[in-house]
């Protein structure tokens, strides 16, 4: 194998699994250390800069970082990264003075953001301090988009949304709320230099089976119903409720129904339990509230009597796999199941809809109805129009919307300066030794044996009584510290300098995870077989260094390294050093242009 080039920012970035997996590439280990030190405001600011909505995401993020967490490979469960983020948000105190302080000198360029959801707000936050005049349009009366309309208040209190949306609006963003934008051309005609479309995927998919029209009064589209609940238009639901669908929206629907009078609430899903799209923790929370999840049932028809819904008929199916491992659902032949109910919530997916974009506005759409975009630039075929969030590549989640917003903001800034939007700025990185003494490091290298801490919940009888009572109480500072100590500091990298190595084997002997092998170099596949302990996960790279006296190569398998620094502590010559790798994504603005 070729010797590893550690100066390529991707190499060490990939070692920090959580940061690599995060769409916004938030420097997770850095803020977790700050939380452990009680520096919540500093931890919050790292998050705010990177993901814009730390308090909101600390409660609702889809957490792509956690399945990636190295702790999950060396122990049982990953670090509770998401809930630690919330700890920073809950305990930060007043950070108003640390935010960019307006008014900002104007550069004369105007940008319209359609939709006041996370993608648009990110664009507004990134561009406003640069002097752009940003105007955010939304049909709802208050900014926040799906964060405000679809996420139930028992998961995300309104005050958190108000605070974090407020930080952005207060930068001097103009908001035009309560009026649906009905024409892209008219927005363009207002003289905006660029338009960012962040209007989400606003249409809930319907279920067109017999009885749908007749029983329409008691059949509701999930996201619309959640929005009605959120804005106080709906306050009650029938005693027996069936929720159709297996995603996170279905979980929000069923738990909301439990709080609005639904006593017998069931979630009924076509697929099996494991394949459901909902996050495992959301399924657990729903089941903990006494909501059964029934699988392999395909809705066939709605039953009704005198214009009133009486139930849903389901066909029983079973999974069948063909030779290529593709799954299909085949009827088992058993008699159909009739589930009596008073109301049905349909949460079987969302679709993009752009009825307000005129077909001759210069924006091309593909055959799935999604805009044709530059993959990294988010620029549409009309160079003035950019997309992001669910509106860009179909329904995802908040953190993806934020990541899209940052990228789109870079594109808009480049575009309006007459630069090439295809040239993307590299990330900013630093690599600094953590050595303070012979065996003292600037980070806590002792590995905690604690298992993942559970987040305390409000008592179910209290939580189910009021839709505004937040269920998760968040970690207190003691639990937060214990959880933060579980972080393996994967950003503190093991850096090897071959010319200092005397091949004494001290690092090989001390490494608790058998990561290090000195052996003849070879092709990757064959070489992996010769390592001290071959990795189970091949996604992490091998760190290969050459130039040793015996002609062998140093091979370090990054997969399960604990970053405990013992290799560097036991190294007599300093050939191993622990260096903190800090990677910050470049955002729109000066940093972008000085490169």
């Amino acid at each position: 194998m070729k010797a590893t080039d550690v100066s390529n920012p991707d190499y060490f970035h990939k070692v920090v699994d959580c940061q690599w997996a995060c769409p916004a590439h938030t420097p997770v280990p850095e803020y977790i250390r700050l939380i452990a030190h009680g520096r919540h405001a500093d931890a919050y600011m790292i998050n705010w800069k990177s993901n814009v909505f730390p308090g909101i995401l600390g409660r609702t993020c889809d957490r792509p970082c956690e399945p990636a967490c190295r702790r999950g490979r060396v122990e049982k469960d990953p670090v509770a990264i998401c809930r630690l983020k919330r700890v920073a948000a809950d305990n930060k105190g007043d950070i108003a003075a640390r935010l960019p302080q307006g008014p900002f000198p104007k550069n004369g360029k105007r940008v319209a953001c359609i939709g006041a959801g996370p993608a648009s707000l990110t664009v507004a936050r990134d561009l406003t301090p640069l002097g752009y005049e940003v105007v955010v349009f939304d049909g709802d009366a208050r900014a926040g988009g799906m964060i405000r309309s679809q996420i139930p208040k028992f998961r995300l209190p309104e005050s958190v949304i108000d605070e974090e949306v407020g930080y952005i609006v207060d930068l001097g963003v103009e908001t035009r709320l309560g009026n649906h934008v009905s024409s892209l051309k008219s927005v363009l005609a207002e003289g905006f230099d660029a338009v960012f479309v962040g209007c989400g995927a606003p249409r809930g998919r319907d279920l067109d089976v017999p009885g749908r029209k007749e029983a329409a009064a008691n059949i509701h589209i999930g996201i619309d119903w959640l929005a009605s609940v959120s804005f106080g238009h709906v306050e009650k639901i029938g005693r027996r409720v069936v929720v159709l669908g297996g995603g996170n929206t279905a979980m929000d629907c069923c738990r909301t129904a439990r709080r609005l009078g639904g006593e017998d609430v069931k979630v009924i899903v076509r697929s099996g339990f494991e394949e459901m799209k909902a996050s495992p923790w959301e399924k657990e929370d729903a089941m903990a509230e006494g909501i059964p999840i029934m699988n392999f049932l395909v809705p066939k028809s709605f039953t009704h009597e005198g214009g009133r819904l009486t139930g849903v008929v389901f066909e029983k199916v079973a999974p069948k796999f063909d030779d290529k491992g593709r799954r299909s659902l085949v009827p088992t032949g058993e008699p159909d199941l009739h589930v009596p109910c008073d109301d049905v919530l349909v949460a079987i997916g969302q679709e993009n809809a752009f009825p307000w974009i005129e077909r001759d506005a210069g924006v091309e759409f593909d055959r799935w109805g999604l805009p044709v975009l530059g993959e990294k630039t988010f620029q549409s075929t009309n160079p003035k129009v950019f997309f992001g969030g669910d509106a860009a590549f179909g329904p995802k989640n908040i953190i993806w919307a934020v990541a899209h917003g940052h990228e789109a903001a870079i594109s808009i800034d480049c575009f309006l300066r007459g630069e090439d939007v295809a040239v993307r700025p590299p990330p900013m990185t630093t690599l600094v030794s953590q050595k303070m003494g012979i065996h003292e490091w600037a980070y806590d290298n002792d590995i905690s044996n604690e298992l993942r801490q559970k987040v305390p919940h409000a008592a179910p009888d209290i939580a189910l009584r009021d839709i505004k009572v937040e269920v998760e109480l968040g970690f207190d500072q003691k639990l937060a510290w214990a959880e933060a100590q579980r972080c393996l500091n994967c950003d503190v990298q093991t850096v090897f300098t071959p010319k200092l190595c005397i091949e004494c084997d001290a690092c090989v002997d001390i490494c608790p995870m058998d990561c290090i092998t000195f052996t003849e170099n070879g092709e990757e596949e064959e070489l992996r077989g010769r390592l001290m302990a071959p990795a189970l996960n091949l996604a992490q790279d091998l760190y290969v260094a050459e130039g040793l006296k015996t002609g062998r190569a140093m091979i370090k398998d990054e997969d399960v390294c604990l970053h405990c620094g013992l290799c560097a502590e036991r190294c007599p010559t300093g050939a191993w050093d622990m260096r903190k790798f800090y990677l910050e994504m470049t955002q729109a603005g000066q940093g972008c242009r000085t490169r």
Partner: protein, 351 residues
């Protein structure tokens, strides 16, 4: 020295041995020796050997004297018996322990100071008595704990870190062990675990006095140019005679080797030592030839390593003394007090 304990987490696919233990279960507490010390590598090799042989840790006794090397038993086999004796007196304590309980595996760990200076007589007598043990000398040629004076094994002409040239003749522990009748004699290097681990395993399986001289560079005081016990010097002058494979009897042998280059030695317990000869003319069963070869190569400045001598049918101290089969703590009252009649017969023998 390292302040933190070695993390308990281990590789998710760490193998287990026949007893269900992982290699990590054979470790001791974290080493307090200087970073990079060769002794730590030897400790790691001992851990690996005991793991591979599936030895029950509570059936091993590790004994040592004083010195850097004699500290190491703390850093391996944390669940075994240990005795840290007076300087140079490990061989006597080991001999006594072995006489009292012949069922344990005895591992004597010593250094060049502990065995070639203050304990030279003790070393000599334990070897010539044929005590069933593994006697490992971690040989670095200097007194590390007192900041690097030459020890008795330092080669004549080798240079200290301060630049002083050694004028005394070295004691060659391997040569002495051969002369004194050790039935298993080997030399190895802490920087070559592939050679060292099988030698330690073979020595453990050997029922007799097994002696291993292991060159172990002192990174603090004896790893400079001009030293003959540095990593660089030993790597350049290492003349390995053979490579060893140790095959416990329960395993089947199915590897093909070139004829003539392999010699298999079956030990009394049925285990097989397979010698892959790197120097085909060298006969590891000829004690006199071994001595000659060693001295010739030493005169050339070479360091001969590998299995130097093996007697596959050793007799140990218990055989010589015709002692009772059982360990003393397992003898019951009837065996210890056989009665008046036997006593009279015994006394009659001595009249």
């Amino acid at each position: 020295m390292t302040y933190i304990a070695k993390p308990k987490l281990h590789h998710p696919s760490l193998p287990t041995n026949r007893l269900g233990y992982t290699r990590r279960d054979y470790e001791g507490s974290v080493s307090t020796l200087c970073a990079g010390c060769g002794h730590d590598s030897i400790s790691a090799a001992i851990i690996q050997s005991c793991f591979e042989l599936s030895l029950p840790p509570h059936r091993i006794a590790k004994l040592s004297g004083i010195g850097c090397s004699s500290k190491t038993p703390t850093y391996f086999l944390g669940n075994s018996h240990g005795f840290n004796s007076v300087h140079g007196r490990m061989p006597s304590v080991l001999t006594g322990a072995n006489l009292a309980n012949r069922d344990l595996i005895y591992m004597g760990v010593s250094g060049d100071g502990d065995s070639a200076s203050i304990g030279l007589g003790q070393f000599a007598h334990s070897i010539r008595r044929g005590v069933n043990m593994v006697y490992i000398v971690m040989n670095n040629g200097v007194y590390g704990l007192t900041k690097g004076q030459f020890s008795a094994t330092a080669d004549k002409g080798s240079k200290s870190k301060r630049g002083v040239v050694n004028s005394d003749e070295p004691i060659d522990l391997v040569g002495m062990a051969l002369q004194l009748g050790a039935t298993f004699v080997a030399r190895s290097f802490s920087g070559d675990k592939q050679q060292l681990v099988p030698l330690i395993k073979a020595a453990i399986l050997h029922k007799g006095a097994a002696f291993i001289d292991c060159i172990s560079p002192c990174v603090a005081f004896n790893n400079h140019a001009g030293s003959t016990k540095s990593f660089d010097y030993v790597r350049e002058h290492n003349e390995a005679l053979n490579r060893l494979d140790v095959i416990p009897e329960r395993q089947t042998i199915e590897v093909d080797y070139e004829p003539g280059s392999i010699e298999e030695v079956v030990q009394h317990d049925g285990s097989v030592l397979r010698l892959n000869k790197l120097a085909p003319e060298y006969d590891p069963h000829d004690r006199i030839a071994a001595l000659t070869h060693l001295q010739e190569r030493h005169a050339e400045g070479e360091v001969v390593t590998g299995l130097l001598y093996l007697d596959p049918t050793p007799r140990d101290l218990h055989d010589h003394l015709a002692t009772v089969e059982k360990p003393l703590n397992a003898l019951d009252e009837a065996e210890l007090c056989p009665g008046q009649e036997i006593l009279q017969r015994f006394n009659a023998q001595h009249r």
